[in-house]
Symmetry: C2
Amino acid sequence: MKNRGVLAVISGFSGAGKGTLMKALLERYPNYALSVSCTTRSPREGEVNGREYYFVSGEEFEEMIAADQLIEYACYCGRYYGTPRSYVERQMEEGKDVLLEIEIQGALQIKKKFPDTVLIFILPPDAAELKRRLTGRGTETEEVIAARLSRAAEESEEAWKYDYLLVNDDLEECTEALHHLIESQHYRAGEQKERMRQIQEDLRAYRKN
Amino acid sequence: MKNRGVLAVISGFSGAGKGTLMKALLERYPNYALSVSCTTRSPREGEVNGREYYFVSGEEFEEMIAADQLIEYACYCGRYYGTPRSYVERQMEEGKDVLLEIEIQGALQIKKKFPDTVLIFILPPDAAELKRRLTGRGTETEEVIAARLSRAAEESEEAWKYDYLLVNDDLEECTEALHHLIESQHYRAGEQKERMRQIQEDLRAYRKN
């Protein structure tokens, strides 16, 4: 009897290292599937349709909303972003743990609809380290860095609503911790219902004999 | 900043292998402390005061109840069993994860008083395997085995109230799973409060500058 997969939503400040973590998990363990979002924004250079995002038109996106084909969606800076339902459900049915890297608003929508979803927020060890990482990339202007830090301050007001806050200090350690955290969700009482029911039934039968 | 330890209560059917699991965890990882219960029953052959139990008189036990020195207690077969508060609290303060192997009623009492406690129920892979293990010991009469199976059937009605149900099929795998499950509790949002508050404060300060 193959267990149904877990849906793990990963969020975190820009610079917390979410992308690197997802990549490490997917490379290292065969039980993960990465959900790719849809967006109405244009592809940036180097982005591939179906890898970073599915790039769709505004009309297509609205048709997906109308047909209830998205498990969450949100609008940022005038562009839609959403998570296609079919991929997530199919992978979970097949026993894969689905990783979904999205923003806080979408994450909270999903938790409300599917309370079994595990919400994980990735934190830097401290604010100074976050600033160092954003600065260290060397590709952003001071204004962009200031905007990201400001956004992080706002996001930190909502991170409380997540189930777990995981510190990404050392990539290796954090990847393992994230993996073990997601694995542990399979032992939640609700996930073991079928096995427990079977044991109970068999124990009762012994008692009758 | 050393994090406070987690209190993990482990229960399970007789024959599920709880004792062996606890022993493996304690031998393998330095971050665990095993809480030893008090009881008013007499020591059995080979039992050492302070190792299996603290053996106390009925009067002493009632004084501990009156002085609120027990975080839970229950009466089985006319004998008291209880968990001394001071050891558990001291170990948790020192950052140790405290393991407590007790019965369901005591476990539910503790969860009510201390909702951060994680309740873990150890299951056999199936009822037939449980029967095999109980029979395989070769030390119990058929009546005793029947009584244990009957008790397991009763306990299975309450195991639902636990946070996690962990199957002990392979000792090695189950020990690792249990360890990772307890480790993961440290990432719960409530446990990361102090760090999160600090990051938030620092991010706000950046915004002001």
